[in-house]
């Protein structure tokens, strides 16, 4: 998929989308589908942004950054016909939490099996587990309404806005009081406190809580981390994990499918063409200027880059109101995670006494105890990477043989915490990278003693590297922390949560807008639909 030209065919478009990540491409596809003349410009030669697959080691396809598909909106798959364009999602069915010298804890799609697994640690938790899934399933029906619409604007007196708040209110009203109370707790509590209201057993609580901290600079005991637990239950009612999956051929295939869909509707895509700045005339965006100096005219410019990069680098402070700049400056990016991708000669052994490897096909969480994960955070708060980090490991080659040569494997470890701002300064990351990678492999080695013998190639990515490669400010994978004060009508900043910006003709469509990060596609879609609805393009 590196066959995109680096020069556009024309010098004038209805809309130019800056950035060829999945949100930019989704946005472009919707605009093109509506008949607009659209150009996508991507700085890297490869499309996908943080949703990219690359053959970093010969024969091994790494999903370099984003490694699982969680909440990609099903209606986008339908509306853009992404399956016809090659998208295929392979469900992940297990969650495995290894424990040294033990079988560890596996949660299966099969509820009876999961019950037996949990019962080894706490019969009470095992018995209660399905009820938790049910409660989460009920709540996620409400949350879906939030994700799939633009954020309400509480200060507005526009009847449409009031109607929307009323509608949300109605959805909220449809929940019973018990669920509304749970919703309040979920939004404000820490993952650990929230789970402790239900469960007591060590491997279960950290294994579930781990999902609450991914991509954030918070610990599992930090208030506000409970909310993400819900994402695991979206679309599910029985606690199985079918909502999560691998994109066949790597996460980049999602972007490729989106690109093909966009092209099928007539959008044009150029890659290897970075944007130097947004051209602004009389307070209005009129096009972009590429790094090579070429100028492209466009009635509408849409940036899928993060707010910091969009406004402080491509637009420039002097074009913007002071308040807005101040708000963008205090918008928190805070990269907190790194990535270690390994090419493996063979499957390492998890020394867990389990008869086969079926439990390794899903996600493997290194979070043996609540304290372990919290300690990893405590270390990072003061500018160190965690020596014993929380890891979220997947071995996609077990489900998708296309990503590695026969018999060989790809292991991808998402690592937390790796603060962007290390004590020595972010630019010292290149000197720390090796030690960081070793800390990760040491951690894996505690559970897989033979991991080192299996490694034939590796890629270690610090948040500094993530920023360097993808452009994500501070390497934050969600284009900004998903904390309450940066969500909904406050994302990215107050008064500008509706994809518009203070510059007329300049719009936003990245994860830095509502509903936020993750490979969801929702910001791209909602931005496009808002623009089309409001005559913005």
């Amino acid at each position: 998929m590196n066959d995109h030209p680096n020069k556009p065919r024309s010098d004038s478009y209805d809309a130019v989308v800056i950035g060829g990540g999945h949100n930019g491409l989704v946005c472009a596809a919707y605009l093109a589908k509506a008949g607009k003349k659209v150009l996508v410009v991507e700085r890297r030669p490869v499309l996908g942004g943080a949703a990219v697959s690359e053959e970093t080691v010969a024969g091994f396809t790494f999903s370099t950054f984003s490694y699982v598909v969680s909440l990609f909106r099903p209606h986008i798959i339908r509306e853009l016909d992404l399956v016809r364009h090659g998208l295929q999602i392979i469900p992940m069915e297990t969650t495995y939490n290894p424990i040294r010298g033990d079988k560890g804890l596996v949660r299966w799609a099969d509820s009876g099996r999961t019950r037996d697994e949990i019962a080894r640690f706490s019969p009470k938790d095992a018995s209660l587990y399905p009820e938790f899934g049910l409660a989460m399933g009920r709540l996620s029906r409400f949350t879906k309404n939030v994700i799939d619409t633009t954020a309400p604007e509480p200060t507005s007196l526009d009847p449409r806005e009031l109607m929307k708040m009323l509608r949300l209110g109605r959805h909220l009203k449809d929940l019973d009081p018990e669920m509304r109370y749970l919703n309040l707790k979920l939004l404000t509590m820490s993952a650990v406190d929230f789970l402790h209201e239900w469960f007591e057993s060590e491997p279960l609580v950290p294994s579930m809580a781990g999902s609450g901290i991914i991509g954030t600079f918070l610990g599992i005991r930090s208030p506000g981390t409970a909310y993400v637990l819900l994402h695991h239950y979206m679309g599910e009612i029985d606690g199985a994990f079918r909502a999560w999956g691998f994109s066949k051929g790597g996460t980049g295939q999602i972007s490729i499918a989106c690109a093909k869909a966009a092209e099928s509707f007539g959008a044009e895509i150029v890659a290897g063409a970075g944007v130097d700045h947004v051209k602004i005339r009389n307070g209005r965006a009129v096009g972009v200027v590429l790094e090579n100096g070429d100028e492209i005219k466009a009635a509408t410019v849409i940036s899928s880059l993060d707010p910091n990069r969009t406004f402080l680098k491509l637009v420039g402070e002097k074009e913007l109101p002071g308040d807005f700049v101040a708000n963008i400056r205090r918008y928190k990016n805070r990269g907190s995670s790194g990535k270690v991708n390994l090419a493996l000669d063979r499957l390492p052994s998890f020394k867990d006494g389990r008869p086969d490897i079926s439990h390794l096909k899903g996600d493997i969480t290194i979070a043996p105890s609540v304290d372990y994960v919290e300690r990893a955070y405590d270390e990072a708060k003061y500018g160190e990477f965690s020596k014993r980090p929380f890891l979220n490991i997947v071995i996609p080659s077990l489900s998708d043989p296309s990503v590695a040569p026969p018999g060989k494997h790809v292991l991808s470890a998402f690592v937390q915490y790796a603060p962007y701002n290390i004590r020595e300064g972010a630019d010292k990351w290149p000197e720390k990278r090796e030690a960081f990678g070793e800390a990760v492999i040491d951690t894996i080695e505690e559970f897989c003693p033979d991991i080192r013998e299996c490694i034939v190639g590796k890629q270690v990515l610090s948040p500094w590297d993530i920023e360097k490669i993808t452009g994500l400010t501070e390497g934050n994978i969600f284009q900004g922390e998903l904390s309450l004060e940066q969500l909904a009508f406050l994302r990215p900043v107050a008064e500008w949560s509706r994809y518009r910006s203070p510059i007329r003709g300049l719009w936003m469509c990245g994860s830095g807008t509502h509903p936020g990060g993750g490979v969801m596609g929702a910001p791209g879609e909602l931005a496009a639909k808002t623009m089309l609805g409001e005559g913005g393009v």
Binding site: P154, T188, D193, L218, G224, A494
Partner: protein
């Protein structure tokens, strides 16, 4: 014995509720052991001749409208002027007070920029005070199961918020879930200043400055802080007691409550039955439901919610008998020792694992400055709140562990308050466990329930959030109810409102 209302628990909230109810013409009996009058600010002698002011001593958040309603000034209660807190940094020292210009001037000695920012900071809170105050000084709207009666107040809050204008309204919505760390970092550069503003707010919960939601606590503090009283909490309690007597409250101080029979009355520890249709409990919800009632009386849901109400005490109190006088900078009677926000966070880190911090952050209070009788002539009684200490210490709260902690704290104090050097003649340490035992607060949590966002908005549980309980005639009025713990009097006053409104509600 029969009466209209029994108030159990004689802390500030119990006394306030008793006053309001008696003032409204109810026949009120307050049931509380003599030495527990004052609740968390009940005094006791911790060293011969030296008196402890109790764990809660800051009266600056006691509501002025309650003082007015109950005419407490007639009982001799006098506003003290603006309370002063000395910030004792390693090098930098300054005094914060309720007077903005004075404080800004003080801050100007360490940072000119921060002095300017502080004025804006104070002005911001002043601007947003009305809607927040309105929320905190009324029976909370039921946000979990709003009935038609709740929609109007909710709408009014919404309108009050809107009246702030777009920018401030969005700012209020943005700031509440934030961490104090980020919020204060947006405003100030001086580490000691940030730490001093943050410390009182973060220690109300199981949280450090890095914890989201802590900024709501700061907001509440900033908006509700007033002047405080001469003579401190002791004077406040005395005024409330004499006001109560004036309103005709009968004090039953020979015994405490052993069991509650809603609608019937209270069984005392002495084994007597006190009958009353209405019981107002000024004890934390855990004590009320889980100790004073039998499990089968509770619904499964209520029981689980109360069990899950988080009451993890993380604060210890060290009482020191000091030979000699101690004076703090600027004539303050309080001092804070926390050098920067990270120091507070680092003091919080170890307690999560059951350990003690290397350098606890300290809130020092010298009651004998306000209450000369608290220490013999020429000597000083000092109360220090230690943040943070775990309820359950790894290896247990052994004599050794207590001594080591005491020594550690005295060492820090001697460094910052030179007059203390070699002058400590007696010390008593109250760990969260001791506080639980002495004051009857679950988990030793001195706010009777952590001030986390969910526990502030719905406190302690949806069915009890508006002071009523699922049990006819049983009401809650401790700090475990809205708007939370501390010497505010608000839960007591608002609960009495709920009691008096009950007829119209049914």
């Amino acid at each position: 014995m029969a009466t209209d209302v029994i108030v159990i628990g004689g802390g500030v909230n119990g006394l306030t509720a008793a006053c309001y109810l008696a003032k409204a013409g109810r026949e009120v009996t307050l049931l509380c052991e003599e030495d527990s009058i004052g609740g968390l600010c009940a005094t006791h002698e911790f060293h011969p001749g030296f008196t402890s002011p109790g764990v809660l001593s800051d009266t600056s958040m006691f509501r002025e409208w309650i003082v007015k309603d109950l005419s407490l000034e007639e009982q001799g209660l006098v506003s003290e002027g603006l309370s002063k807190v000395a910030v004792l940094g390693k090098e930098r020292r300054f005094v914060l007070s309720g007077d903005v210009s004075q404080t800004a001037e003080e801050i100007g000695r360490v940072s000119q920029a921060d002095a300017v920012r502080y004025r804006e900071f104070a002005a911001f809170y002043e601007r947003i005070r009305p809607p927040v105050e309105r929320l905190l000084n009324n029976v909370p709207p039921n946000i979990v199961d709003p009935g038609t009666g709740d929609l109007l107040p909710l709408l009014r809050y919404g309108l009050a918020l809107r009246r702030l204008g777009k920018k401030d309204m969005l700012e209020v919505l943005r700031l509440a879930p934030m961490t104090v760390y980020d919020w204060l970092d947006e405003w100030f550069e001086c580490d000691e200043l940030k730490a001093a503003l943050a410390l009182p707010a973060v220690t109300e919960s199981y949280a450090g400055p890095w914890s989201p939601g802590t900024n709501a606590n700061l907001l509440i503090r900033r908006v509700t802080s007033g002047r405080g009283f001469k003579g401190g909490a002791t004077a406040l309690v005395e005024a409330l007691v004499s006001a109560a007597r004036g309103f005709g409250v009968r004090f039953e101080t020979s015994t405490g409550a052993r069991a509650i029979e809603p609608g019937e009355g209270v069984e005392t520890a002495a084994g007597d039955i006190l009958s009353a249709k209405t019981i107002v409990a000024a004890f934390g919800p855990k004590k009320v439901f889980l100790e004073l009632m039998r499990p089968h009386e509770l619904s499964h849901r209520l029981e689980q919610r109360i069990v899950n109400f988080r009451t993890r005490g993380l604060c210890s109190q060290l009482l020191l008998a000091v030979d000699g006088t101690v004076s703090l900078p600027g004539g303050a009677d309080r001092a804070l020792i926390a050098d920067d926000l990270d120091a507070i966070e680092k003091a919080f880190d170890p307690v999560k694992y059951g350990a003690l911090p290397d350098s606890p952050c300290l809130e020092v209070y010298i009651p004998s400055q306000q209450n000369p009788g608290f220490a013999p002539e020429g000597k000083t009684s000092v109360s220090v709140l230690l943040h943070y200490t775990p309820y359950e210490l790894l290896g247990g709260w052994t004599e050794e562990a207590r001594e080591e902690l005491t020594r550690k704290v005295i060492r820090i104090l001697e460094e910052r308050i030179p007059e203390l050097r070699g002058a400590v003649v007696g010390a008593q340490l109250l760990t969260p466990r001791d506080i639980e035992e002495r004051y009857g607060v679950a988990g030793g949590q001195i706010y009777e329930g952590e001030h986390a966002l969910d526990q502030l908005l719905v406190r302690p549980s949806p069915e009890c959030a508006m002071y009523e309980t699922p049990f006819e005639g049983l009401f809650l009025c401790s700090g475990g109810s809205f708007p939370g713990g501390g010497l505010t009097g608000a839960p007591g006053a608002l609960a009495s409102r709920a009691v008096l409104n009950r007829k119209s509600r049914y």
